[in-house]
């Protein structure tokens, strides 16, 4: 029997609300449907409510209001040990007094399985832990412990598997390897994975759908590609990757349907933005452009972009990273913007600091955000 046969429906959070006794609202009226079998990521900075949401689904935290359903089954007030949900904890929380095989067999035994040995063997093989079966958690490396935590949870074939920053304790290289591993296992077992993380790269590489959370609410939800190319708020634009946000005034709207565009005056230069990427109704807005979409060329040379070019920018910093170079440019109105340029060799060297450059981008990459939002929202403080 394949593990996938067990899953029984979508995870549905309706008006989920969590208010702590001290008055702090961790999660605010959250509505969310996570389709069965998907790999879903809740992404946000620490304190955004993502872990609280996860703990409410696991039953480790009681919701103040709202309901949690899996399929038609209401599990809002079910005890944690009576839910078809398992968790991979942040620091794994493996039982130190039990062997790896005993750790993995813990769940099945509590549910009255007479002889879970065959299941344990199968799961240990899937997670490549067969050799470790007789060892204690303390004898394993971080990556192996992580796999034990995963094996211990998926052996129970839960309807929903919750992963609480499961890769946070691993070093970068191991984390990359484990990301692929997790993805492979999810494809193989087909359970619904809900992954909580503050690492945007991790969320984007692994999940089908990412929900960006901020201050107890979901700011935006969608496929990683859509979130990155078409952010709806300054928080998402800054938290998911980086963005240059330039103040602009809406001067006109043209075209209809898919060709509709909005014209924006940025300090004297008119930029064209696709209507589908405009997320403000006011006359002012932040024109957003990702640093790798920014094209630059020393003054007087032609830029390979059909849009208008901003002239008069000066290179104030150039850091060479090998595959690319990060340029910091000072615009004529004083703002600094960033440009990542692939080192294709076309330029035959770096543009020296102090050089005057023209700046442009392909119009389809720009987006327009509400000017009332904080331009620094979602920037990491550290």
């Amino acid at each position: 029997m394949s593990l996938a046969d067990q899953a029984r429906g979508d995870l549905k959070l309706t008006g989920l609300h969590k208010r702590y006794p001290n008055g702090f609202v961790a999660v605010e009226s959250l509505d969310l449907v996570i389709p069965q079998g998907s790999f879903f990521a809740l992404l946000g900075p620490s304190g955004c409510g993502k872990t609280t949401t996860l703990r409410m689904v696991a039953g480790l935290e009681e919701a103040t209001k709202g309901t949690i359903h899996i399929g038609d089954q209401d599990i809002t007030h079910a005890k944690p040990y009576k839910r078809p949900v398992n968790t991979v904890f942040q620091n794994y929380a493996l039982f130190p007094h039990l062997t790896i095989a005993e750790n993995v067999a813990f769940g099945p035994k509590r549910r009255g399985a007479k002889d879970p040995a065959a299941d344990v063997k199968e799961i240990l093989a899937l997670t490549e832990l067969t050799e470790q079966a007789g060892k204690r958690p303390a004898q394993l490396s971080g990556g192996q412990q992580q796999r034990v935590a995963l094996a211990r949870a998926i052996i129970n074939r839960p309807d929903v598997l919750l992963l609480d920053e499961p890769l946070g304790a691993l070093d970068l290289k191991l984390r990359r390897a484990m990301q692929l591993e997790l993805k492979r296992i999810q494809d193989e077992v087909g359970l619904t994975f809900v992954h909580v993380t503050h690492d945007q790269e991790e969320a984007m590489t692994m999940a089908d759908t990412v929900a960006v959370m901020n201050k107890g609410r979901i700011e935006q939800m969608g496929a990683p590609y859509d979130l990155y190319t078409n952010p709806h708020t300054t928080f998402v634009a800054n938290f998911l990757g980086r963005s240059n946000l330039i103040k602009g005034k809406v001067v006109g709207r043209e075209g209809t349907g898919a060709d509709a565009v909005v014209k924006v005056d940025m300090h004297g230069t008119i930029a064209t933005i696709k209507a589908s990427k405009v997320h403000t109704t006011s006359d002012e807005g932040w024109v957003g452009i990702r640093p790798e979409k920014v094209l630059i060329q020393p003054e007087g040379q032609t830029i390979d972009a059909p849009g208008a070019a901003l002239s008069g920018a000066v290179v104030v910093d150039a850091s060479y990273i090998g595959v690319s170079t990060d340029y910091t440019l000072r615009m004529p109105w004083g703002q600094e913007i960033t440009c990542f340029e692939q080192n294709t060799g076309r330029r035959g060297g770096l543009i020296p600091v102090g050089t005057k450059v023209d700046v442009s981008w392909r119009p389809e990459f720009a987006f327009l955000l509400d000017s009332a939002q904080d331009v620094e929202a979602g920037l990491e403080e550290d």
Binding site: A58, Y81, T87, F89, N91, F106, R110, N156
Partner: protein
Amino acid sequence: MEALQRVFGKNAAYYLIGPAAIWLAVFFLFPMLSLLTTSLSDPATGSPINGYTLTWRVQNYVEALGDYWPYMMRSLLYAGIATILCLVLGYVLAYAIAFKAGRWKTVMLVLVIAPFFTSFLVRTLSWKLILADNGFIVNTLQTLHILGEDGRLLATPFAVIMGLTYNFLPFTILPLYTSLEKIDPKLNEAAADLYASPFQRFTKVIWPLSLPGVVGGTLLTFIPATGDYINASLLGSPNTQMVGNKIQQLFTTAGDYPHAAALSVILMVIIVGMVLVYVRRAGTEELL
């Protein structure tokens, strides 16, 4: 190490264990040898004042055991019951301090240790007042007809065991607390997540992880409680005397050092034997 060898020569390692060796010799080996030689001396020819000569009189052991084995058994029984009571009471309290006390943790720990600020003797004497025949507790129990008209608490095995439990409880609580405090509360959550009911979480996770504390705490209670004589002499009667009372009487009242020493050695051997079996059964050999 090289610098040390320049100063002390190639035997540097022996010099380094010197202080520990001297400490052991003065505080352990020497008193132990003295006890053993006294236990094998002839009680008829020597006296506490003139000293004893070693005559290898093994008969002392046979006589001590023959005369006093009922006291030995009573000691083991009383100490055993007190240890179990301490474990039950201590576990509940240590668990509460470790997991539920929050910001009151330090205050509660200080309260556990607080009785040590007064003398052991004074605290035991105060129990004598509490359990007295005309005291509040006895009167109340008599009014409720739980105790008969001439029923009493003082001078009963109950009083002695209660005294032992009271006096040794902190020795059970502290190792238990240390063990429980080290358990990551996340393990409890993980067990709940993996379908363990509250009872199973205790039996499968908390209890096994607290075993070092259980073994440590019960040993620290059982060993001194077995040899204790203060509780039996202050709260008990001639019918509740423990082996400690006999050893004390032989040393002080009777002045019979060889038999007292022999009885002490027997007690020590029995306890060491029991501890070895216990620790092995509990699977906590690393404690030794």
